[in-house]
């Protein structure tokens, strides 16, 4: 096997050194009947290196990928531009084959990158502190809600009706065993914005998704004001790409900001691995889940980085830890760090602005073609249109033109959640309109 260095001669030498005759002698503590029961016949035949490579190419080719098809799907995973330097850095062995930086002497590279990641996230969100990443935006939200309950010692949280269904499902699944109750804040059916006048003194927090599942921009300031009145917190799940334009949650008084960081330099990758962002006010720092890296000065006076506030974590605090998370998404935090560094102020703002301008162009052209928007509220890069046919059918027609259509809404099969990133060209937008217009005109069955 290509990855196993030892030869049979070396194995024999080692067995002799150990003082046993046979490799099986090393497994004597495993009950024989257990060993006998083991059956691996349903595995694949062993693939040599050449055949393995071929097989992977073949499987990968059996998909309509976003290199060859223009993507109008969003809903949490976005086809944003990834500068090539992101891959050049993340594919360095020194980063991707390194272990968790528990030993700072041999881990300054990873530690500095995480330190910079945290700083970037605080700058982007306007929050005081950020952790070193969570699994994804959904679990980050669940953790934030739990943290909020811990901080406020309350047991009810308010989720918006227009929360992404996957996020909602994860939060529900996390809260159920903990007995935390969920209430739902209604969505204004015209504007698409969450109605936030329903908070009580039992609520630990109100959650908003910014922009919400339907793409509409929420009024975070109003939520913060309403929450403060009842001593509750505001938790926001933000699309970081929108923060090239929108006011920071920090400036609006939000307590905890989470989000999905995939759009910051990570491939869509069929939805994983992802990058959970988690930032909050500094007074909550001892309750943050997961790792935090801090900067300090080493014995010889040089700057050095190390993991800090370790006593919150599970390996020390065990069942009273702030979370059970251990392995996080360090390499993808690095990707986001490189992404934000190379995009810089100007590039990131431009990308954000292109999303805004192009999505509005498409929405306007679709409206002209007889495909109205379902909601009137302001939107950033996603919006819902009501189609004259089921979205699944329209998407088939789009696919023939090498376009991946938007998401059919769970509750309304003729409603499509359309996403336009900076990567979509005018030409692609116009082709999209053409296909949809043909359905309006009834040219397609």
């Amino acid at each position: 096997m290509s990855y196993l260095p030892n030869t049979d001669a070396e194995r024999a030498k080692m067995l002799a050194a150990i003082g046993v005759n046979n490799i099986k002698d090393l497994f004597v503590h495993i009950p024989q009947e257990v060993q006998d029961a083991a059956d691996f016949s349903s595995l694949t035949d062993s693939l040599d290196d050449m055949t393995l490579q071929r097989k992977l190419i073949t499987m990968s080719s059996n998909a309509a990928d976003l290199n060859s098809n223009a993507c109008f799907l969003g809903a949490g995973i976005y086809d944003h531009y990834i500068p090539p330097v992101v891959g050049a850095v993340c594919n360095r062995s020194e980063f991707y084959t390194a272990y968790t930086p528990y030993q700072p002497e041999v881990s300054q590279g990873v530690l500095q990158s995480i330190y910079e990641f945290q700083s970037l996230i605080t700058r982007l969100t306007g929050m005081d502190v950020s952790n070193a990443s969570m699994y994804d935006g959904a679990t980050a939200l669940a953790e934030a809600v739990i943290m909020s309950c811990d901080l406020t010692k309350r047991r009810t949280v308010v989720l918006p009706a227009n929360l992404h269904p996957s996020l909602r499902s994860v939060v529900e699944t996390y809260l159920e065993p903990l007995g935390i109750a969920i209430r739902t804040a209604a969505q204004n059916p015209v504007t698409g914005v969450t109605e936030i006048d329903t908070l009580t003194e039992d609520d630990a927090c109100i959650v908003l998704q910014q922009p919400n599942f339907h793409g509409v921009i929420e009024d975070l300031g109003a939520a913060v004001a309403a929450a403060k009145l009842v001593g509750a917190q505001t938790v926001v799940s933000v699309d970081p790409m929108s923060l090239g334009i929108l006011e920071t949650p920090g400036a609006l008084g939000v307590d905890i900001v989470v989000g999905e960081g995939q759009g910051l330099g990570c491939f869509p990758a069929f939805g994983g691995p992802l990058l959970g962002l988690f930032a909050c006010k500094k007074e909550y720092i001892r309750r943050i889940p997961g790792r935090i890296v801090g900067g300090s000065v080493d014995t010889s006076g040089r700057r050095a980085y190390t993991m800090t506030l370790r006593t919150r974590e599970q390996d020390i605090r065990r069942d009273t830890a702030t979370s059970n998370i251990c392995t996080n998404q360090a390499l993808f935090a690095l990707a986001a760090t490189v992404y934000l560094s190379v995009m810089g102020t100007q590039g990131f703002k431009q990308a954000s602005t292109l999303c805004l301008q192009k999505s509005h162009y498409l929405a306007a052209r679709l409206a002209d073609a007889g495909l109205p928007q379902r909601f009137s509220g302001p939107f950033f890069k996603e919006f819902v249109i009501t189609c004259p046919a089921p979205v699944v059918d329209i998407n088939k027609a789009l696919l023939e033109k090498k376009m991946i259509g938007g998401l059919p809404l769970p509750d309304a099969p003729n409603d499509m959640l359309v996403c336009v990133t900076e990567q979509r060209t005018k030409e692609e937008l116009d082709s999209f309109v053409d296909v949809l217009a043909s359905f309006v005109k009834g040219e397609v069955a």
Binding site: S2, Y3, L4, P5, N6, M14, V20, L26, H29, I30, A38, S42, L43, T44, L47, L52, L56, S60, S61, N62, A63, L66, I77, P83, V89, E94, F95, Y96, Y99, E105, S113, S119, L124, S133, Y135, T139, V170, Y174, G179, L246, F267, A269, P273, R303, R318, A321, N324, I325, C326, T327, A330, L331, S341, G344, T345, F348, K349, Q350, P378, V392
Partner: protein, 459 residues
Amino acid sequence: MSTEPTIFEKSRSGRVGVQMPACDVPVVDIGSLLPGVSLRAGLPLPELSEGDVMRHFLRISQKNYCVDKGFYPLGSCTMKYNPKINDVAVQMPGFARVHPFQPEETVQGTLQVLFDMQNWLSAILGMDAVSLQPAAGAHGELLGLMLIRAYHVSRGDAHRNLVLVPTAAHGTNPASAARCGYKTLPIITDERGLTCIDDLKRQIAACGDNLAGMMLTNPNTVGLFEEEICLICELVHAAGGQMYCDGANMNALVGTARPGDMGFDVMHVNLHKTFSVPHGGGGPGSGPVGIKAHLAPFLPVPVVVKDDAGVYRLNYDLPQTIGKVGPYYGAYLAVVRAWAYIAHFGKQNIHMISEDAVLNANYIRVALGRTLDIAYDRICMHEAVFSLKNLKAETGIKALEVAKRIIDYGYHPPTMYFPLIVPECLMIEPTETESLETIDAFIVAMEKIIAECHTDPET
């Protein structure tokens, strides 16, 4: 090691690293596109050229140790070689550049990887089904416990809220239990390094009918196989509990024995340990969960199925599902890497993983046992555990100091002070991808350090 400024210190106002395209649609004033929306004033990101960025990260990267550079003797971490075909695979557009909400027909090759892995991991773990949704080991623990809880609730046993967790367990076990609303009761490890059966019986009795289950790491956290595992499972099952296997040490068993055959009901395995997914400086990982059939109704959605026409589909139709622990289908690219690792070995050679891992560990146990005190003097599994208690008594030198000294010899330090039950603990796990001469060189270095401790304790 020279200091590299932070990326912010390297920023220069007005510098551009990515030239974005001009807007090719008519540009409208932002204020009129977003009426009433508050917009941000500044955007304090760094400003650098592409070359500045590359240099910054290359320089800091070189301060890092990594498995492509040398041996990581880290016990319990399974730092094995990360094959390069995996890196090629995760760049392929049909894996890296597909959207999770694409219609199933457009992602058949993509789905095949998930379908295969559900089956292959089931076979390797001896389980009936697998969920690929968890993003890491701890996430898998949480899911596993949620499944146990859903099972009890479905049987009207909602009151079962106690979980047995050995004192020697990894911190994620009690933390995950807490996250599932469970209270944990400790179980001690006996002088053999194994679960103390008497203590177990005592604690089971103490639980009465509130026992939800037990979390056991097997091979355990001192690198030994719990030889009474069948008895342990029987005892817990008899008390109405479910058996959870923390499969972090599965590398010792792959292709040789299966937790499902030992009596475990549910377990996780860390693809970033056992199946060659790189650690990435701390993640991402992947922590699939395997279960026995009685837990299948509660699995998170979706699961990947193959319909009668041979088309892969996402099945959301599990009425008793606990819901979701992650937004999509798990750490997809990690699963692709693990697919490749398993496929390379295949049914014919999968046993070589555990065999070489255990062979290497026992060789270290015996060879280094001439210099260090072995914590538990018996055949070990994937790792060898030593106690430097006597060295400390004789020389005043602690495990921490020995471990840090090994850095000067060009190695990453071994795991120290875990598990806490072994005083001045050093835990060494070579994995199957280290060679005899690497191990021998490491042992020579350790011998030199120990000799130094006696002769020249200042260095």
